[in-house]
């Protein structure tokens, strides 16, 4: 093998991309050519230096933005099947379409009346009317969360969103169906957002529900073992932004430990 050819194979050798035969003939050449050995050592040094350069990570805000965007896309992706099935139902009214739609409809319907938007709507309206919006008035999550102890039979997730423009005002306990439910109260401009947090064992497969009822916008989703249901008189867009901000804070993916992973390849 000539040096010219050997030099071209040094990189692939370091990368472990040489065939057995080629590697063998390269080794043969290297054993007799000090110059090419020198070049290989130099190349290896360069590679090692490159691999030791610090890894930059994406800024936290980018992680959050991407996660929120993903949640929004995921929400749309989950809602779609129902929407798609409703159309053939109306236009074609095919027996099969109806059957499938009904079957899916039953699958996607909340299993208890407690989870229906109407129950939350009633609670929302009552909270505004009775002027008993909050039973505990505190913006500190460490005050609000313990307050629920003994008042509801679970420990709700309480997240402050003041940095996102939705200050936490306080909390109260509402009776939704027959269940005592933690309600968190947030403000957005002049509007009140009631966020109902209930434990659920149905995982996160439940579709995001979103809609308008009697002029109030609502959005419901599941995360971290809880069902979240937010309702407000503010616009649907601001409610969606609220839910995205909350979801971003509920789940921020950890950056991968790329340096640890890298060791395997050395």
């Amino acid at each position: 093998m000539k040096c010219e050819k050997a030099l071209g194979l040094l990189g692939p050798r370091l990368d472990g991309e040489l065939s057995v035969n080629r590697e063998r003939s390269l080794e043969e050449h290297l054993s007799s050519c000090a110059e090419c050995r020198h070049s290989l050592a130099e190349l290896a040094d360069l590679r090692d230096a490159l691999r030791m350069l610090p890894r930059i990570s994406a800024p936290e805000r980018l992680h959050q933005k991407i996660y929120a965007g993903f949640q929004a896309e995921a929400a749309r992706a989950r809602v779609h099947p129902i929407r798609h099935l409703l159309h053939p139902l109306v236009t074609h009214a095919g027996a099969l379409a109806i059957g499938v739609a009904l079957a899916l409809g039953i699958m996607f319907l909340p299993k208890t009346t407690d989870g229906r938007p109407e129950s939350f709507l009633a609670a929302h309206v009552a909270s505004l009317k009775n002027e008993q919006l909050t039973q505990i008035l505190a913006s500190d999550t460490h005050k609000v969360r313990p307050w629920f102890e003994g008042r509801v039979d679970y420990a709700p997730i309480v997240v402050d969103l003041v940095d996102d423009g939705y200050p936490l005002v306080g909390g109260r306990v509402d009776l939704i169906g027959r269940q005592k439910t933690a309600a968190l109260v947030y403000k957005w401009n002049a509007h009140v957002i009631n966020l109902f947090v209930t434990p659920t064992d149905e995982g996160e497969k439940f579709p995001v529900t979103e809609g308008t009822e009697k002029g109030f916008n609502y959005i419901g989703w599941r995360a971290r073992g809880f069902r979240f249901f937010a309702i407000t008189g503010a616009s649907g867009n601001s409610l969606r932004a609220f839910s995205q901000a909350l979801q971003a804070r509920l789940h921020i993916p950890k950056p991968p430990a790329s340096s640890a992973k890298r060791m395997k390849y050395q």
Partner: protein
């Protein structure tokens, strides 16, 4: 139509690679809001195209989308640069428009607060390489992609990956040594 792949799967397979996506975008677009936008955009595209993922090398699949998004962005920049350049030829000659549209990559080195001078120089040397070279080098050295995976991401034959990588290393070596003039020193 239903999606074959669930959002949950996307979350598990693709979201862990935000940093890798960001790194590639930074190397290609420089330290600018464009890089963040490109990464965000890439994730939206990836989610929508997720059903088309064949289930292997999630990072490579995602980086291919990031690369394409960045290349589109670079294309736009050079088109803008051309337009501005022609304008400045006929009008003022300060060239601000042109340098604006070009990639200002150097602040990157300061940003990561590299302590060692040698590392800073190496960083700068990588940054000074042509985009074609940077891509294959980054994918190989920083993201552990094989030649075959690189060929899929960049859309070039494996032989071309090999020759580009070899050229990139030669260029890097030449520039790095030219900067430091300490070629005989093999120690870190």
């Amino acid at each position: 139509m239903y999606r074959k792949r669930s959002p949950r799967e996307f979350e598990k397979t693709m979201l862990p690679h935000i940093d890798a996506a960001y790194r590639l975008a930074m190397w290609l677009l420089g330290h600018s809001p464009d890089a963040e936008d490109a990464v965000q955009d890439s994730f939206v595209r990836a989610f929508r195209a997720f059903d088309g993922w064949k289930g292997v090398n999630a990072k490579g699949w995602l980086l291919k989308i990031v690369r394409n998004t960045c290349m589109t962005q670079l294309g736009k920049r050079s088109r803008n640069a051309n337009v501005i350049h022609l304008d400045t030829v006929s009008g003022d000659h300060d060239g601000i428009g042109f340098s604006d549209a070009c990639v200002d990559k150097m602040p990157l080195a300061e940003d990561v607060l590299i302590a060692a001078d040698r590392q800073a120089r190496l960083w700068a040397a990588v940054n000074s390489l042509p985009t074609d070279s940077i891509i294959v080098l980054i994918l190989r050295e920083f993201e552990d992609q094989s030649y075959k995976q690189i060929s899929e991401i960049v859309g070039i034959p494996i032989g071309t990956v090999m020759s580009r990588l070899s050229r990139a290393r030669q260029q890097l070596r030449a520039r790095f040594l030219a900067q430091g003039k300490e070629g005989k020193n093999h120690e870190m």
